[in-house]
């Protein structure tokens, strides 16, 4: 059992078949090492969101096992949730709350007292929404909502961050800003990050290792440089297209 807890995330033959019969993922063996930033890439419908949702305890796998720092997420979801935080693909917020109230609400589910105050301050800083933070969320733009959600997730400083397309819908500047924060949190606080993305630049910039998902299976997995050498591509985009091409 000792090898299980070495990994931040470990899936064994993870399979998810939806009730409609469509396959989310099949026999997925994924391993995210503690302290790294792992990028999950793949075309639309390849199973990225499915995988992340299962890890975040939102969906139950049809088959297989998932461990987060050695904790079985199916058998012990509450314990697993204490170790991680999750940014959904579509993260909204309660329309009638102000941004500030939303931050307070989300963080009060994890912290109390001084630690809560600190976390709230941290989230306010990350969100960087200025006076808008005191306004109701119904007036926020998509990007503002995204960064608000992200700020609460980051400020909770979990051991593992699960981010489903973190910069989707953000403008160029904000995307760069978010990438830098993710990197900073990973380095300064040793937070492990598992993220999905369609942005190869982003993945190349941020991630230590990547896994390419295709139709619910992992085609290839490894450090970015290693993959480039193995497949023979100048960048991740080429690697992606070549690997995918081989399957066809």
């Amino acid at each position: 059992m000792s090898d299980i807890s070495e990994y931040a995330v470990l899936t064994k033959n993870l399979t998810k078949i939806y009730s409609s019969g469509s396959i989310g993922v099949k026999s997925l063996n994924l391993s995210v090492k503690s302290g790294e930033i792992y990028g999950l890439i793949g075309p639309n419908g390849s199973g990225k969101t499915t995988t992340l949702r299962i890890i975040a305890t939102l969906l139950k796998p049809t088959n297989g096992e998932v461990y987060v720092y050695g904790v079985d997420v199916v058998k012990n979801p509450l314990e697993a949730r204490k170790l991680m935080n999750y940014l959904p693909e579509e993260a909204g917020a309660y329309r009638d709350l102000t941004g500030l109230d939303f931050i307070k609400f989300m963080l009060s589910l994890r912290f109390t007292g001084r630690r809560l105050e600190e976390a709230i301050g941290e989230a306010i800083e990350i969100a960087d929404l200025g006076g808008d933070l005191k306004k109701p969320i119904r007036g926020y733009s998509k990007g503002m909502k995204r960064i608000l959600a992200l700020s609460t997730v980051l400020a909770s400083r979990p051991k593992l961050l699960v981010l489903d397309e973190p910069t989707i819908g953000l403008d160029v500047e904000r995307s760069i800003y978010v990438r830098n924060i993710i990197r900073r949190y990973n380095r300064e606080y040793g937070i492990t990050v598992l993220l999905s993305s369609h942005n190869m630049l982003e993945v190349e910039y941020l991630c230590n290792r990547v896994g390419i998902l295709y139709r619910g299976s992992l085609l290839i997995e490894g450090a970015i440089e290693e993959l480039k050498n193995r497949v023979g591509g100048v960048n991740l985009e080429e690697v992606f297209l070549k690997v995918k091409g081989e399957v066809h």
Partner: protein
Amino acid sequence: MTLTPLLIREVKAFIKNPAFILSIVFIIGFYGILGRLMSTGIQTAVEQTLNMQIGVVLYDSSDFAVRVLSVANKTSGGRLQLVPSLEAGLSIYDIVVVIPSDFTIRVMELDKPINIESYIKINTISPVVSGAKTNIITVISDLIRKSISYVIAIERNIDPSLINKHVLMNTTLQVYGKIMKLEEYSTISFLMGFVPMMIAIIMGINAAYASQFTATEKVEKAFEMLLAQPIPRRNIVFAKIIGSIIASLLMGIAYFTGMFLILLSATTSTPNTIGNTTGLSVNIIEIVSGKIGFNALLVSIATIILGLIYSGALGITIGSIVSDERIAGALTAPIIFTFIGIGYALIFIGLPVNIITGVIAGITIAPLPVIALVSTMIGDFTVLTTSLLFAVLSTIVVMGIAIHIYNRDIVVLGLRISRFKLKERK
């Protein structure tokens, strides 16, 4: 016309909404069955009363009285049965009429009305049955009046229509062993119909609130983040139940305040109604405390609390399995109608109060006060205990289902009635 495509889109949106179609089918089916059950209940009630035998205690043994009775009996098709005493009569028949010893004397004296005591035994909560029985009393009173005229007319050889004696029926009811006047019974009967109905409406509205709140949270998309937080999912469910209860209570308070204000303004403009309304309300309180007992009142309050938790949990269950507000909205109507239907049904179907109906009342909650009322009057609390037990049990079960669903995929994915379309195209 730009209106046409807009209108078509609107109509299509609900026609293609499976929840809308399902709820229409459900309501038609549910009320169809309910209607059939109720009409069977009413029919049996009517048939029973149509062939009902009536006990007659004859304290006046004069020749005249015997003759009047025999005429009345013939006219009624032999439905009058002589019994030695009131007690003996009520042990066999549901209706007993007492002809007093001064019957003949009073008939002979010109301007004196004839007083006749009648007793009705009611052992049902069905207003149809009790209504039919009180009607029979009117029929009999009329029958006796006509028979008197007929006998006198034959004796004196005159036209019976010239003779018009006044017959005063004084009716006493024995409702589940409790003696009461007709007016008192009317109040109780009204309460029996009104209280479960009110509770059913409250439950329906509460369930609708809970399902709307839950569905809205999902649409706001903060839901997935919430579910990923290190809190037990049951706490989310509990918070939602309490939230919807608070909303319903606030709405209830606003409603009753509004009603009170209407009453106030109505009383200032027409002073006449003051007497009536206060008179009526005092009457209701008197009857509640005197005849029904505070037991039933306590049970009614307990029923409201249980009903709120139950309907809240039910609403959350529905709200959490639908994928958006539109579907939750479409399901709101059938939820409310179902509770109202159940509130009505038990009463109008005229089922007897026994362990089985007690269990049904417990599971559906709203009719509980009726069970409490009847149990108090009978003085036997077995059925009520069973009912309450089942009410608590089913509330726990519904809550358990809501919590269970919150731990399943369905709370995230929603129940997809139509087929999911594949996203992958590349």
